[in-house]
Subunit: 219 residues, 2 copies
DNA sequence: TACATATTTGAGTGATCGCTCAATAACATT
DNA sequence: AATGTTATTGAGCGATCACTCAAATATGTA
């Protein structure tokens, strides 16, 4: 509430008095959570302060605590949001496909494509959280680990679909394939985060995608 | 300097007076740096406080600043130490080998072996630093990135040696191989950090190692 | 031994941290 | 319109942060 400096000082002072403690528009929970997710994803839990969150959410301390209880609870909610969105993106790329292996390969290529259009692209929030967490906040690391496991199950389900559609032999270990595939996703996202060049990143993604496609049995 | 509570109060009070501001043994710089590296590697830059460092280094604030100038400069020195040690380990595994490809494959397997013996094994400090850094501490991320690039060069040199020894064809792209190899190291170390089971981790490492060995030209 | 120099301590600084709560504004009910 | 209820503000709290600096201790020199 800064006093206005303008030609008409009396009008400015009156305006200043009228605006003191003007209550904001009520916040929108989804909008706030989305902003928190973006901020936490970029800065991590420890380096993100309440003041940062005030700015990003356009909310004051009392409102943030009324809505989300604590910094850690807000982080946890943001992490869940990230997980749900990631799962939904993965699923949407595998809906309506008649080639599960093709879709899995294309998802890897999409990582390089997405990094190409986003200069500040960040590695996976779940991985960052696990690597970043300390023993004092082991709960959020555990939550992130749990979400990563669930995403790996989604991947294994996609490989199972490739078996059902005849692309893979019935005796292949889809859990192992999913684990390897997820490790490749992590690696690609870290390379993107690190600023690896577009051609190099695309080559890595193509190679990983080729590994997936070469699993296809001859028809 | 806590007063001693014991049967002989006069003797305890005298001991308390005699011990006030007793100066410590001078610190050993290498020992302090090693302790700082271990602490920063585990907790990361942001979540590590000066109080943590006091405990780990067994030094008081004034000494820490006299020796290392600032928290950031200490982190930077610890990061360099980590880089030098990592480079030395990699080199020592490639010294005196007549199969560079074999040594590269075995290094990947060693990641799973090392994780098996260390329950609190951490992902690569350089990767953690890059993922953890914010714009306010971009300098340490840049330093870590630079070290990662140098390690990738070491890897490319090992692949060059495989060409020179006849294991690889002369026209293969060793820079690309090195980049992929380093991405695989990152992925394996993250799986280890995440607590992936010993058999699964060993399977991932063996598979990555097998990929390296299959590059070998027929002789 | 006396004095000079170097090193370490740890109390204290100003700033920032996560969070609380009384005051105020906005909304709902009668 | 008056009253009651709900939601938001933001000053301020106690704690912690990175760091400083005068005092004290240890080491070196003449």
């Amino acid at each position: 509430m800064t006093p206005r400096s303008n030609a008409n000082d009396k009008s400015g002072l009156l305006q200043y008095v009228l605006e003191a403690m003007k209550r904001a528009q009520p916040y929108d929970r989804e909008t706030a959570l989305d902003a928190a997710m973006t901020l936490f994803w970029t800065k991590g839990y420890h380096a993100t302060s309440l003041k940062d969150l005030e700015g990003a959410l356009n909310m004051k301390p009392g409102s943030i605590y009324a809505a989300f209880s604590s910094k850690e609870a807000l982080f946890s909610a943001a992490l869940e949001r990230y997980f749900q969105q990631t799962k939904e993106v993965f699923r949407s790329m595998h809906r309506d496909t008649d080639s599960p292996l093709g879709a899995l390969a294309d998802y890897l290529r999409s990582i390089a494509r997405d990094a190409d259009t986003d200069p500040d692209c960040q590695a996976c929030m779940l991985i960052k959280t696990i690597l970043n967490a300390t023993t004092e906040d082991a709960a959020i690391a555990e939550q992130a680990r749990h979400y990563l496991d669930q995403i790996r199950d989604e991947i294994a389900t996609a490989f199972d679909r490739a078996i059902a559609s005849g692309e893979l032999p019935a005796d292949i270990d889809t859990n192992h394939l999913a684990r390897r595939y997820q490790a490749n996703i992590s690696a690609l996202k870290i390379e993107a985060h690190r600023g690896t060049g577009r051609n190099e990143l695309a080559a890595l993604a193509d190679e990983a995608a080729g590994d997936v496609e070469r699993l296809r049995v001859r028809q």
